[in-house]
């Protein structure tokens, strides 16, 4: 009989007690308290007020990936209940869980029905411990509209003992009747001045030397996504001590982020502006062997054409359309080689 993988050598563990140093940095440096969450001052100050008033509305957090949504709700529940009580008072359902209509209803019902366990004396001293439970629906934009409307009723039925927190990237994917029942909190994409502090702090704690401007470069590349920034920082730090590298450089960061180096991009642009179809075909044949991602090339071309002063508006408009078309096709999982080649050939035909 099959008994799980290598069952003899493995034992059950409690996922809760995690030593920090075995976790990737994104997890290790996940904000633990509301105060640790950087760059979302407005949201955090409002949430802190709810801590003292002990009356929480239903909530909807929305904003781009890596801006602290998941971290914030867990920090909030920890400050409301403390680590012990959170285990029984908080239910997390995310896109990895089965979230069909019937299942959500069932799970929520069962969870809501359990009588709230009495907080211990110590917990009461330290935490507000309000008398309701919190249900977190993370990545709620991947729920179908049907499941969402079923949720409406569920929310109402149990509103005396539960509070919901919906988390999503696109607020428009949440049906209106649901969204209107929640207080909305927008999580801003992190801007440089806010995020740099956090990155500096982490690089100090982890002892990673970095060249002037390297951290800024990480942030530019990550485009406001703190998770990407921290992963990139850790990736770059892993490279230290290999070869010549004794501190993180912008160049290394770009390489790790999979950006096409400027001189190669320039070579490509030259081929395109010469407009010889056969040569472009040859060039792309060689180019794709390097494995750069076509999406990244599209983004870099976009940055180049749109910020350049050498082209007129009409030309930029036409190029943009081509770039958007290619980007949409790539997002549908198409063949990178064909799409990149078509894009470059089409661009080469646009009269300047």
């Amino acid at each position: 009989m099959f008994e799980g993988f290598g069952a003899n050598k493995r034992r059950k563990v409690n996922i809760e007690e995690e030593p920090e140093h075995t976790k990737p940095w994104v997890e290790k440096y996940r904000p633990k308290k509301l105060d640790d969450v950087s760059a979302q001052d407005h949201t955090i100050s409002v949430l802190k007020k709810t801590l003292t008033s002990a009356n929480l509305p239903h909530m909807l957090f929305y904003g781009p990936p890596g801006t602290g949504k998941t971290s914030t709700i867990f920090a909030l529940t920890r400050e409301l209940y403390g680590p012990e009580l959170s285990k029984t008072r908080v239910l997390e359902l995310n896109a990895s869980d089965e979230r069909g209509i019937a299942i959500v209803r069932e799970k929520v019902k069962n969870f809501a029905r359990l009588t709230v366990s009495k907080p211990s004396k110590e917990a009461l001293e330290k935490y507000p411990c309000p008398p309701y439970k919190i249900i977190i629906l993370d990545e709620a934009d991947s729920m179908t509209a049907d499941a969402q409307s079923a949720l409406r009723r569920t929310m109402e039925n149990h509103s005396n003992v539960t509070r919901f927190c919906l988390i999503c990237n696109y607020v428009t994917r949440i049906i209106d009747p649901l969204a209107s029942r929640c207080s909305k909190f927008r999580f801003k994409s992190l801007d440089e001045s806010n995020a740099i502090g956090r990155l500096k702090e982490i690089s100090q704690l982890e002892n990673v030397p970095h060249e002037e401007g390297a951290l800024q470069r990480i942030l530019e590349i990550s485009n406001g996504d703190m998770r990407r920034a921290i992963t990139l920082l850790q990736s770059a730090a892993k490279r230290l001590g290999f070869g010549e590298l004794d501190k993180i450089t912008s160049q290394e960061v770009e390489e790790l982020a999979g950006l096409v180096p400027t001189h190669i991009l320039q070579e490509m642009l030259n081929k395109v502006s010469q407009g010889n179809v056969n040569e472009i075909i040859e060039y792309v044949n060689e180019f794709v062997k390097n494995g750069w991602s076509a999406v990244s090339v599209v983004n870099q071309l976009h940055d180049y054409y749109i910020t350049s002063n050498d082209y007129g508006t009409d030309f930029k408009n036409k190029i943009s359309l081509l770039l958007f078309d290619a980007d949409a096709k790539l997002a549908n999982g198409t063949n990178e080689h064909l799409q990149l080649l078509n894009l470059l050939v089409q661009i080469s035909q646009v009269p300047t």
Binding site: K12, K23, P24, N94, G258, N285, A326, K329
Partner: protein, 352 residues
């Protein structure tokens, strides 16, 4: 007896051929594997992603990763359908391939990951730097063909279980991987070997297998033909050597897979005649190719390039590329490849 491709596959980081920079990236990862982030290896087909992934695992866990077994596991879908799936695993890692499980990939992956996450290695070696073995690696082949649903489900799972599970995802193209997953991974680009490297590797294998070479020329031709795909190059070398009594001369004809010559014939046909009758003949070619399990997107790509090669008219080339990019997208969105391939053929005929 195994194929030369498998027989001469490097098994450890120090024996990896081509691209020293990439090898040093992997070495830097394996040196401090404790807080390893999730990894995503991307690059063209046959550039050695799997080989590098296994070599990396070997450097973290030791030879044991090559002691693999296959188990048949049963999964139950929410609609109570049972599915059987082969899972390859060693004591330290397990491998899954999304195309084996079709649209149920989310359920299978979540079930496997949960199971792995709840267990922890107890025999991790204290010697190296302690806790390197605390986690198990889950290798996801062809990660770019994971459904959106499965990818969305991985988001929280990758964070929640990051103590006991590390994912290593392999894919040809990162374009169809959603960005929240990319931002959770250390992305490693694996370029194809340049031709001279391919020649070196072919040379090494040829000498080990006692193939008599008149000169390097024939190897250069193989390298050229294989377009950076090392697997293809080695398969070609082996079949050519076996067909020519282990003696390769400059003039030895290249052996290409049958389907490639079928596609060249198809291209010539399309170019010669523009008629419904010809379209019907082309259809039988296409059915034949599909029946031999040649993926539709490979057919489209090869056919496009064959048409580009044959045509001398620049306008026609541009039109073919544009058509091809459209039908490429339809192939990814639709689920009856023959419609779209045939549609492409008809359009291509008109643009010649």
């Amino acid at each position: 007896m195994s194929l030369w491709v498998d027989k001469y596959r490097p098994r450890s980081l120090d024996t990896l051929s081509h691209n020293g920079h990439l090898t040093s990236v992997l070495q830097s990862i394996s040196q401090q594997p404790r807080d390893l982030p999730h990894l995503l290896l991307y690059g063209p087909n046959g550039s050695g992603k799997k080989t590098r992934c296994m070599a990396l695992l070997e450097s973290i866990f030791g030879q044991g990763v090559y002691k693999m077994k296959i188990d048949v596991r049963q999964f139950v879908t929410p609609s109570n359908r049972k599915l059987d799936l082969n899972v390859v695993s060693s004591a330290y890692h397990l491998e899954i391939t999304p195309s084996d499980m079709g649209i149920n990939d989310r359920i299978v992956i979540q079930q496997l990951l949960k199971e792995v996450a709840q267990m922890e290695q107890v025999d991790f070696q204290e010697s190296q730097d302690g806790l390197a073995h605390r986690y198990k690696c889950v290798v996801i082949n062809e990660a770019d063909s994971l459904t959106r649903d499965a990818q969305a489900a991985l988001r929280r799972t990758m964070e929640k279980y990051s103590r006991n599970v590390r994912l290593i995802m392999l894919c040809d193209s990162v374009s169809s991987i959603i960005s929240p997953i990319k931002s959770r991974c250390f992305m490693v680009r694996c370029p194809a070997p340049p031709n001279d490297e391919t020649v070196n590797i072919l040379n090494y294998v040829a000498s080990k297998e006692k193939v008599q070479l008149e000169s390097d020329e024939v190897l250069k031709v193989i390298a050229q033909e294989s377009e950076g795909n090392l697997r293809k190059a080695l398969l070609m070398l082996e079949s050519m050597a076996l067909c020519n009594e282990m003696q390769l001369k400059k003039s030895t004809p290249i052996i290409k897979p049958d389907w490639e010559s079928v596609i060249s014939k198809l291209a010539t046909k399309i170019q010669k005649e523009k008629s419904v009758g010809c379209l019907v003949e082309c259809r039988s070619f296409l059915y034949d190719l599909l029946a031999h399990c040649i993926p539709a997107r490979t057919i489209l790509q090869e056919l496009t390039f064959a048409l580009l090669r044959n045509s001398s008219n620049e306008k026609a080339k541009i039109a073919i590329l544009q058509t091809s990019s459209i039908f490429d997208e339809r192939l990814s969105l639709g689920n009856k490849p023959i419609y779209h391939l045939e549609g492409f053929v008809a359009r291509a005929m008109c643009s010649m």
